[in-house]
Symmetry: C2
Subunit: 243 residues, 2 copies
Amino acid sequence: MPDDPWQPPSILLAVDLVILTLRSSKLHVLLIERGIEPYEGAQALPGGFLNNVGEDILAAAHRELHEEANLDASRLHLEQLGAYGTPDRDPRGRVVSVAYLAIAPGLPEPEAGTDAAGASWKTVEDVTSGRLRLAFDHRRILTDGIERARTKLEHSSLATAFCDEAFTIAELQQVYEAVWGVELDPRNFYRKVQAVSGFIVAAGPDRRTTKGRPARLYRAGPRTALHPPMSRPSATTTSEAHL
Amino acid sequence: MPDDPWQPPSILLAVDLVILTLRSSKLHVLLIERGIEPYEGAQALPGGFLNNVGEDILAAAHRELHEEANLDASRLHLEQLGAYGTPDRDPRGRVVSVAYLAIAPGLPEPEAGTDAAGASWKTVEDVTSGRLRLAFDHRRILTDGIERARTKLEHSSLATAFCDEAFTIAELQQVYEAVWGVELDPRNFYRKVQAVSGFIVAAGPDRRTTKGRPARLYRAGPRTALHPPMSRPSATTTSEAHL
DNA sequence: CGAATAGTGTCTATAAGACATTATACT
DNA sequence: AGTATAATGTCTTATAGACACTATTCG
């Protein structure tokens, strides 16, 4: 622990946010267009420096979430991804950034913040495919955030954070399919979800109108850790060829 | 991202290390006795401030690992746990600490470093039971580290990092039992481990001498992610009573 | 009715856990 | 021999995935 008497040169501390949401069944991330150097004009994750020396990091993340995306804490998941502090990651000097993962249900178009030229939802696929380049090490941070979201979907009730308060099982399935990037069997999914006690609970005798038979509505249940976990098909199911 | 023109007051950056090892089939953590204020005389995780403004965080973790525990990078697992930055966590001022989890095979007694009054292996149980109190928020960091190690044992080949280069299946089982805090059936464990391709590979026709029948020796295989995962018995196996 | 979506049932391969049995060393 | 530990086999139950079927709305 911190014992050395000498004081190191100042290191700047910032937060970066990976804000994921679902729009028309596709996974999107909130990106801002940088209005100032460095990387002016490039796409980047929302974030910023700590307000003052006494501000809590998580509080700063919440503040940025509000400032840059106008999102409140209700019906929202916020979790630390980790610290990113490679010495050369920011040309302005030594900046260590603590990244947070935020999950939200479908949201409207965002408005650009103060020193941002624009703010918009981009499909995650745009970034991972390389069509869209991000400033700093934000591509790496985003990748880590997506991977975290994927594994959390297996072991926690995080998926419900993508949905509105009341949702159908089919909607919940779309969350899993979008984040995992796979197709699931609706019937097995139905069975599986209901087998996990406390994951979802029926929301009154309500139903919803569309084309076919009305679907039952559910809400997020009290359980946050899923037992048994939702198993991800790709490379997570059975053992591989023995070599 | 960092855009604001003003420079915040200096925040100190440190690293803390959760160094876990196995000694006589019990999980131990390396603790130092603090030689200076604050928390003088109390037990704490090893760690320290970054050397200079240009030092990489992971490099600092490696440096501390060498300085405080005389451990090299070979046969060692090092992984970031996260950033701990509550404003009041250090009475000296604003200190943000990036914690790392280090896993090592059985090691001899450590020697005290420069500004430490002592260094020793303590059983994890001593801390979790409350018999031993840690400085700062180190109890929380340790708890997070243990939990991380537990889940990583399920999904990765981390357990082999607790063993020497060559090990028997029984030894590997002891790792799981110690970290998870459960008892496992040797026969089922044997089957399970061998079913995961690439987890362990036979290490020559070697054998080892003790009392009974000699055991085959294995080394860590090329596979780092385990498919299927090693299932943890407690509360992770089957579904629960349906409310 | 027919189309469309929701929900239930059944079968099979595979994995997990309990536990018996055989194998190979030592004294 | 006897003891101790290693390795293998068998059986039962539960879970995962494929897929057929019934149910309920609308036009």
